[in-house]
Symmetry: D2
Subunit: 343 residues, 4 copies
């Protein structure tokens, strides 16, 4: 019973459409719920901008990347119109009884504030970096790891043929989960993540020792990794004589430094946006679908102010107040475990 | 410290080589362990048939399907030579201090008996069907689900173009996890699993209702599913006048029955062995690697008589006595949850 | 200038939607043409059953398998309504000035007869088997080969792990192009095609010699291959005591025969429909797009009674009368070339 | 009869190992030839540095990227040791009767000079860019196009979700074949290639018109494309106040320019090395195998001073003197054809 608005906010992520589809099918079939889709994240909520959303609309979308609702980095309180009264007034006009917000930590924080301001909201966590403490996994992460691992596999054959060191930069601004998984899966000789500094000397030592064993070094680095001596690195004067501002990412800083210190020809690849788009993996579609079904059940129970989360094999509910603001880092022990078998 | 023999037993599975590599790298690097590989499962153990296994041998194998050790369905106690004394004598001859057995429920049961007969054994669970109660997931399952889901995606476009019903048979002898995941990911209109009988009438009703909404029905069935009236089905007399023995699988039984009862042209595909071979998914390589590292730690701790298991995000230890013989079925509730949104 | 009806007929094939999109975009942009889509092949033509077809409708479809128009094996002359007068009358009613028929040899033969009966028709050849003499390649073939090759790669690891012979059946009713390409790409130890008989003895000799060199035999067989002694094979009495009618395909006949004669455990996989659906390869999308653009140009030129064809790197025009009925077999020389390096 | 040395020179390319395997299998089976592998391109030839190369060594390599022989950009005449006499002396010492050089235009030019200096050499053309006039296609190109097209597919969903313009840079230094194929397959709204200048104004007009129709612009650009006003672009002062030297490629120059002129948020992705490594497509393995078989036949015929080439469906022989130095550009007509249906 009731009519609910779904929105997707923040960076896009494989599995968003599976969540939308799972919510709508579960709601229509089991709970007699109706849905509208807010366009472009919180912007749609604030301006009352919606599209219709029913079984027909969500047909076949779970195998598509991105989000059919569009998304933005717009926060609900950042513009003059973004007041609880305005939002409620648009909800009344549209006959919307509650909001389902799908997004990252910032989205959930905003959802919590909306909830405290009297707006019925539930959440579905989303972060391609998998760095939310409250849930074992988020959808999108698995797809990103598969894409990054395929890149490691591909780069390795080029590295071996040319006796080069290859440096691959993957996503992971604050936590290095994608680098950890793709590096482990691809048998990287060094994995560099934001949580655990490694010196340029240590990195070069790994690279040299791999080379000495007759192999071609493969380094996987998360975009958020920084060298302890990074300021120096930022202004590193390249062979071309230019001062080199940080443009393309940490891989493009690391590669010339490694080459300079080891004498081994080194090439950087920044994987970038191709990690977040396209056909989601089966795992992410299943997780998204289950999250969508669970959030429809939450709405049916009136369990506002909470979000869904994966714990072991089951989908559970967690209050926003507990979930928000807790980043899940790669534990030191797990990093050292992976590090033990580098190369 | 010490020298250990690794064996892989039962059906092959993507991720086996990642376990072998993870064990050897962890053992050599952290625990000063040495390894040999028993050839073709318990056969190698019984006949003392081994290959050398060190860092050089396991280089780059985690991205390869199958097992470099070979495998068989041979049990250690089934032949005259398969006595604990013979096995111990071969172990002494080869200087092997303990055994790491990688395999399914039968392999673990045999490992337990060997352990009770005084042979130091630890285990790594393996089942592509994911039907072991003791662990959330086993490696290989994820790869199989991705392959099966791609098949659903492919069959769907043919079904839609020809207005046909497509029936896809996937693995799952006793438990329907692959069908559940691939069917959910692919948006199947019916998922049929061994644990939960559905009548032919119910299946045909789903198929018809999908057709009535202008879509082309997609049925995903686990190989172990049986119709309540299966005996009749087995001897079903086809349009070609032949009595039809069960050759190709349940999909080839179901398809003509559905076509006959609904009048909708129906085609069967039996996915078969392509689900278990080839490049493992990143997820399975990571899980295999972590299992391998953990089992090397168990050996270092002398924790014989136990196997590794995934619980939530951590790898734990479970005694054989607790783990063996407990199948993990798809819970009824979860099946009904997926069933609620069929089509 | 003018308004044209597009139809897709016969089995579906990856790249059909690329042809449709290429035709519509080229026609609207360069030639001021309008289009309608006939539904379900010639059925739509005979009954005047159409959907609208413009730039908006074809947006993004080239990466989708199947055909948005639907297809059927219906011939234009097979039913009472299927007369040139009826067809012309529907065309007048719908304002359709000419027909673009996309299909196989049968579709082109029917197109030629329609053309001789005074209906303006042009054609785009389609056969996933690549067995049309008039064109170097047809779209869909490349996708099928990639899927079949991935299956060979996957089966190989299972074969090696279990020391089994694996038999993979791929499409190819009259010509063995898919088997030739996938077998060559996958390094098969035997490739069996309809054009060139091989005796069971020869096949078993290849299998044995591979086994003798310590490898696991991989046999790729086209569905249209028959043993010289096939009638006997058809009624082969299996180990289960049943007479074995031909149900699942030639692979399921061959596998037990090979196992019986060589004593090597042998498994069959019938790839079936997954070869023809799903996301088309880039090559097939490009070829489909180029065919579509070229057929729009043909219509603009009033070049009725002809079809497009790939010759080297260029797309050319061939009269139906020359193109129809000429199958392109794998040349004996090319087969012997592949055969020389088996295993 | 005889013993021949194979070398791979220049950038690595999917399909190199298929050529090596095809040559060795054909030679051993049909012509009683023996082979050695020169290590790291012409370096191995000049210094007489070889590995053994027989049926056992080439087993299963055609599905691997890179080259088992290693490669380099070393030319045979660039160092003091690189004299015909030295090379011949090493050949005599190793019992090598002739050389099979696999490489790009530079490699073939060097091969021609060696041939003129009295060394028996034959060639196999290799360029991932597909820009050799003498052959319809080179191996590696097809794999690169498939990888680039998958990237277009992935970027599109992100572009649509965020209403962004996405710019993808693919390989193609002198000729834009990869951009043409991947852009056509992926339905790009603009394709930019080295052969045909387009102004920034024209590009922005395409981008804007796509946006105006409610879609998200996708631009595919070959690395060798330059803006007519490129010098200005090179020193473009970014929002960060730095002068921006050309680091990451043309996509990273174009994206901020497009964003500045259109006001549409624009993101660049440089695909880079992942286009050239990893598992080759079936097509490239088949083409590589056929080239390898053909070059073994050439050697058997003593047809020195020539290279193999694909013409239509057959593999032919072309004298170095005719083949070298003729780049195959994308013909203007074909580019305009693709351009006609942008968006």
């Amino acid at each position: 019973m009731g009519r609910f608005g779904i929105l997707t906010s923040g960076g896009d992520c494989p599995g968003l459409n599976a969540v939308i589809r799972g919510t709508v099918l579960q709601g229509e079939t089991l709970h007699d719920q109706e849905f509208v889709g807010y366009l472009r994240g919180y912007r749609g909520l604030v301006y009352g901008d919606v599209m219709s959303l029913d079984r027909g609309v969500v047909r076949g979308i779970s195998s598509q990347g991105g989000t059919i609702l569009g998304t933005s980095r717009f926060g609900p309180y950042t513009e003059p119109d973004g007041t609880p009264d305005n939002i409620k007034s648009h909800m009344r006009r549209l006959g919307v009884d509650g909001v389902i917000a799908i997004g990252g930590d910032g989205t959930m924080a905003a959802a919590n504030r909306l909830y405290e301001d009297g707006i019925p909201v539930v959440g579905v966590p989303k972060t391609i970096d998998n760095d939310l403490e409250a849930t074992d996994y988020t959808f999108g992460f698995n797809t990103a790891v598969e894409i990054a691992t395929e890149a490691v596999d591909r780069l390795r054959t080029t590295g071996n043929s040319h006796k080069r060191c290859m440096v691959l930069e993957v996503m992971g601004r604050h936590a290095g989960w994608i680098a950890m998984f793709a590096g482990t899966a691809g048998g990287a000789h060094a994995i560099l993540i934001p949580e655990h500094p490694e010196s340029l000397e240590q990195i070069c030592e790994w690279v040299r020792s791999v080379q000495d064993r007759g192999r071609s070094p493969m380094v996987v680095v998360a975009e958020g990794f920084t060298l302890p001596d990074m300021d120096e690195a930022h202004s590193h004067k390249g062979l071309d004589g230019f001062n080199r501002p940080r443009l393309g990412g940490i891989a493009e800083i690391l590669a010339p430094l490694i080459e300079e210190k080891t004498g081994i020809e080194t090439r950087a690849t920044v994987l970038g946006h191709i990690q977040r788009g396209g056909v989601p993996s089966a795992w992410d579609r299943v997780l998204g679908t289950r999250f969508g079904q669970a959030v429809s059940n939450m709405v049916a129970d009136g369990a506002w102010g909470q979000m869904v989360a994966l714990r072991g094999m089951s989908v559970e509910r967690v209050p926003f107040s507990e979930a928000v603001g807790h980043t899940k880092n790669v534990p030191l022990e797990q990093y050292l475990g992976a590090r033990a078998i580098f190369g």
